[in-house]
């Protein structure tokens, strides 16, 4: 058992954004949330870690309603990585990772050997041990996201929630972040934009559209040409790629006047 939702609804400004979603994450597996812009992926993730409270329905962690858990207790189980969390404050890499220890420390507790060990290990797992003292502001986008993942790992969570962790990153960093997430071995729930990346890195995929869960299951069952055409309005051809995973090719009609290449 791990994180699950049952008939979860949520809205803002009179608009329903998440509409009756029932979903379950499998322990130790990567669950991908896909769907067009505005389909409610980010909102659903925020409901999962109680950054927003459900309007109706229930989110459970090991069968217990998360609304009944203290926020600190929740933060020791669930860690959340945002799309692009930035700060103006001058911080070093280890300052950021140390924030992950917040739910484990009492108000006046001093820094312990266990805290230090968790930070050291988290940095090692994301491959940034040598950047320990580097200023956060001198890091690249990919490195910042790795530091956020290290911060989340320092929370020692059993579930990790990531909201489009690869947004704005170049392809090399997208692949390395997602490989990292896959290797973590903890339950991950992750919103993704890129369907091919979702097919490559997720064990299971949930497809959202207008706040409703359309389908959920292994990539091969969810990422069908018919579903993608229906939900995203894009024609695709699906074939098995060189890696053995499915590859989605977008079929875009050549623009009229594309023949005018001679002019270029």
């Amino acid at each position: 058992m791990t994180l699950a939702t049952h008939e979860v609804c949520w809205g803002a400004a009179g608009r329903i954004i998440v509409d009756g979603v029932t979903l379950q994450a499998a322990p130790g597996r990567v669950l991908g949330l896909i769907g067009p812009n505005g389909s409610g992926k980010s909102s659903l993730l925020r409901l999962l870690c109680r950054l927003r409270n459900v309007a109706s329905g229930v989110v459970t962690l090991d069968g217990r309603d998360i609304a009944a858990l203290a926020r600190r207790e929740l933060a020791r189980r669930l860690a959340f990585v945002e799309q692009q969390a930035a700060t103006e404050i001058q911080l070093s890499v280890c300052d950021v990772v140390r924030l992950g220890r917040t739910p484990h420390r009492a108000a006046l507790a001093s820094w312990t050997a266990a805290d230090e060990a968790a930070v050291t290990e988290a940095l090692a797992r994301v491959g940034l041990s040598e950047r320990h003292d580097q200023s956060w502001h001198t890091l690249s986008g990919g490195e910042r996201q790795r530091v956020h993942i290290a911060r989340a790992l320092a929370q020692e969570p059993s579930e990790l929630i990531l909201d489009e962790p690869t947004n704005h990153l170049d392809i090399q960093h997208q692949l390395s972040i997602l490989s990292l997430v896959r290797r973590l071995g903890i339950t991950c729930i992750m919103a993704l934009h890129d369907l091919n990346l979702a097919a490559m890195f997720c064990d299971e995929i949930a497809l959202l559209h207008e706040g409703r869960l359309q389908m959920a299951g292994p990539p091969d069952e969810v990422l069908t040409a018919e579903a993608i055409q229906r939900i995203f309005g894009v024609a695709v051809a699906i074939r098995t790629g060189a890696s053995g995973r499915r590859h989605i090719e977008y079929l875009v009609e050549a623009e009229q006047g594309a023949g005018g290449l001679a002019g270029a």
Binding site: L51, F80, A85, T102, A107
Partner: protein
């Protein structure tokens, strides 16, 4: 690596604490000896002994009065006020994630002034003057905080909107204060209020300290209890909540603490700008951005800065006392520019 040490480094902590106390004592000693009437340090020490320890050292009654009742209470009040305002600035900057946030910029000081002036001129209060004035200032600062929160939320709640809302609130309450003063105050009252609005330690006496001391120290304790939570706000409110911080409770408690500290100080000495803005930045420059170190640093640096600024306000122009707000701005602005310049990021 410096991070290898676990747990508190007690010798270093005690050394820093002692150095801070020494620097504070030195500032107070300077404040007590410098002034229109030159009083040698040994006379000053004897007067302090008489006043604090009940000794009976030979000091003339005038010198005793000037040292103990006038200069010492004034210096201690300046210290408390500087510390509390700097602390408030650091808290607001962390919660609102905006380096420009402070009680003065956000209009909390303006609200406190309106409340205090309403009590002072409309005579709303009954009983002890200092307390009713404080109560008026507190109601005013809470009203201002509510208006800022309302405006900022209505405008989308982004951190730059908070500053805009603060500017609007400031103007609103300043206008209210001006309306009360111009329509209802006698000429004498109006002059007194105007001087007070720019900040004035002249009227400070010991009873004021019995109000300001507990407010500043309890406020400091409350802030220190939330030091780790404040660190967690570095990446925003959602990030703090995801780290297990009870965001709403922390915000309510700390905004209220800030409002009480600001109200208490404004009710006693009037509005003083710039301290809440520059001291947290200067302190960050000295000790880094971790709040467990930053908050005590703000208290000490703010106190020393204000005591020294008060000395300057008394000696800068012979036979005259400048409003403290003028001195803090005159010296604060260039110092701030220097900090910005030195702390600029390599791009």
């Amino acid at each position: 690596m410096s991070h290898a040490a676990h747990g508190p480094n007690w010798p270093a902590r005690i050394a820093v604490a002692l150095a801070s106390v020494l620097a504070l004592a030195l500032s107070v000693a300077l404040a007590v000896t410098i002034g229109e009437m030159r009083i040698p340090l040994d006379t000053a020490l004897r007067a302090l002994g008489n006043g604090l320890l009940g000794l009976d050292a030979p000091v003339s009654a005038i010198q005793q009065g000037v040292i103990f009742d006038y200069r010492l209470s004034r210096a201690l009040m300046a210290g408390l006020c500087g510390g509390a305002l700097a602390l408030s600035g650091a808290i607001l900057q962390a919660l609102l994630r905006n380096p420009l946030a402070e009680p003065y910029v956000l209009g909390i000081s303006a609200g406190a002034s309106t409340g205090a002036v309403a009590v002072l001129i409309l005579g709303v209060g009954i009983g002890g003057t200092a307390l009713t004035l404080s109560a008026g200032a507190f109601v005013g600062s809470c009203a201002a905080l509510a208006v800022v929160a309302l405006l900022a939320t209505g405008a989308g709640g982004a951190s730059d909107r908070v500053i805009l809302a603060g500017v609007a609130t400031s103007q609103l309450f300043n206008a209210a204060t001006a309306t009360i003063v111009t329509t209802l105050a006698s000429a004498e009252q109006a002059r007194g209020v105007m001087f007070w609005l720019l900040g004035n330690f002249g009227g400070v006496r010991w009873p004021d300290l019995w109000v300001a001391t507990p407010v500043a120290l309890v406020g400091f304790a409350v802030c220190m209890l939330h030091a780790k939570a404040l660190d967690a706000f570095a990446f925003g409110i959602d990030a703090a909540a995801a780290l297990g911080v009870a965001v709403t409770r922390v915000k309510v408690v700390l905004f209220a603490t800030t409002a009480v500290m600001t109200a208490a100080m404004v009710s006693i000495i009037g509005t003083v700008g710039f301290v809440g803005l520059i001291i947290p930045h200067a302190a960050r420059f000295l000790v880094g951005s971790g709040h467990a170190r930053l908050l005590p640093a703000c208290l000490v640096v703010g106190a020393i800065f204000m005591i020294l600024a008060d000395i300057l306000s008394r000696v800068l122009i012979p036979q005259q006392i400048l409003p403290i707000g003028v001195v803090t701005a005159l010296f604060g602005a260039p110092v701030f520019a220097l900090i910005l310049h030195r702390a600029r990021r390599p791009s």
